[in-house]
């Protein structure tokens, strides 16, 4: 017994730790890649309360929409969205940066434009709400 409990760190210990780290990294990577593959849902664009566009979030493009005061331009990039330009005085929507998760939104009050990411069915966040 004495021998066993006094044993120093062994190669098997290192193997064990390495396996656990590898497994966690694998699981994390899987989760992340899944959340990037359209699992995030779609983008709902509303002007003055009415939905004018429903876009999916894959790929890279810039889309313009006519708002109350002028045009708003937003950029879609691999599952994330941000406002690039907006015809509003305060530019709060531009400064709010990127959104990517279901439920997040960018609101431009002066121009009455709302970008909101909607969860697709079956995603973990859809259950969460």
């Amino acid at each position: 017994m004495k021998k066993r409990s006094g044993r120093r760190w062994t190669w098997a210990d290192s193997l064990l730790v390495a396996t656990v780290i590898a497994l966690s990294v694998f699981l994390l990577a899987q989760d992340m890649s899944r959340s990037h593959q359209g699992h995030t849902g779609s983008l709902s664009v509303r002007v003055n309360g009415a939905e004018t566009m429903r876009l999916d979030l894959s790929g890279r493009r810039e889309v313009g929409v006519r708002g109350w005061q002028g045009d708003s331009v937003f950029e879609i990039r691999d599952g994330s969205v941000r406002m690039v330009e907006s015809a509003c005085p305060d530019k709060l929507c531009v400064r709010s940066g990127w959104i990517s998760r279901p439920g997040e939104s960018i609101v431009c009050l002066p121009n009455r434009v709302v970008l909101e990411i909607k969860a697709s069915e079956g995603g973990p966040d859809a259950v969460n709400r």
Partner: protein, 192 residues
């Protein structure tokens, strides 16, 4: 070999002066000593569990804790044996669950603790792992089973994504507990 302080007593060896190096105590006393040691370890584990519960959490993740009470189980595994370790752990989980008064918590800690102890006992008796490795493996198994049971009880599939974090957290906590257990066991065997 597995009892604590075997060589310290010199009680009445009238039963035999042979060289088989068996315990000088009669059988009943040996059993009583074992039961006493187990009881002490259960109490210690319970105490550690309560102390840990009243401290602020080290790692801000629910379900991730240091697992101080696992020290008692490890010492039982080293000095008493696998079945005794299982007994110490189950009793500690039961009593701790009763003290906290949450049935779900009891179910989770008992199942995770039992799985971890069985796994640790198996690894410990392989000639491969150090006590620290055994402790880390136990922490990993504990956290995984804990999450599995929670998933089964709560039924919220999103909880699954929490697994890699719990696994990673088990590495440092298991290492710390394993290190302390190693120190305790070398101290105990030196002080014989």
């Amino acid at each position: 070999m597995r009892s604590i302080g075997r060589t310290s007593g010199h009680v009445n060896t009238a039963s035999g002066s042979d060289s088989r190096a068996v315990s000088p105590y009669p059988r009943v006393d040996l059993k009583a000593r074992k039961v006493g040691a187990m009881g002490m370890l259960v109490a210690l584990g319970l105490l550690l569990q309560i102390v840990e519960g009243s401290l602020p959490p080290v790692i801000p993740l629910p379900g991730a804790k240091l697992g101080l009470a696992n020290l008692a189980t490890l010492v039982a595994l080293v000095y008493l044996g696998p079945l005794e370790a299982l007994g110490v752990n189950s009793l500690r989980c039961l009593l701790g669950g009763l003290l906290r008064g949450s049935f779900v918590g009891l179910l989770i800690s008992l199942s995770a603790g039992t799985a971890a102890t069985v796994f640790m006992a198996a690894l410990y008796f392989l000639p491969l792992f150090s006590l620290m490795g055994v402790s880390i493996a136990g922490a990993v198994v504990h956290n995984a089973v804990q999450l599995a049971v929670a998933l089964w009880l709560v039924g919220f599939p999103g909880l699954r994504h929490y697994l890699p974090f719990l696994l990673l957290v088990a590495l440092p906590t298991g290492a710390v507990i394993g290190w302390v257990a190693t120190r305790i066991s070398t101290f105990l065997s030196d002080s014989r």
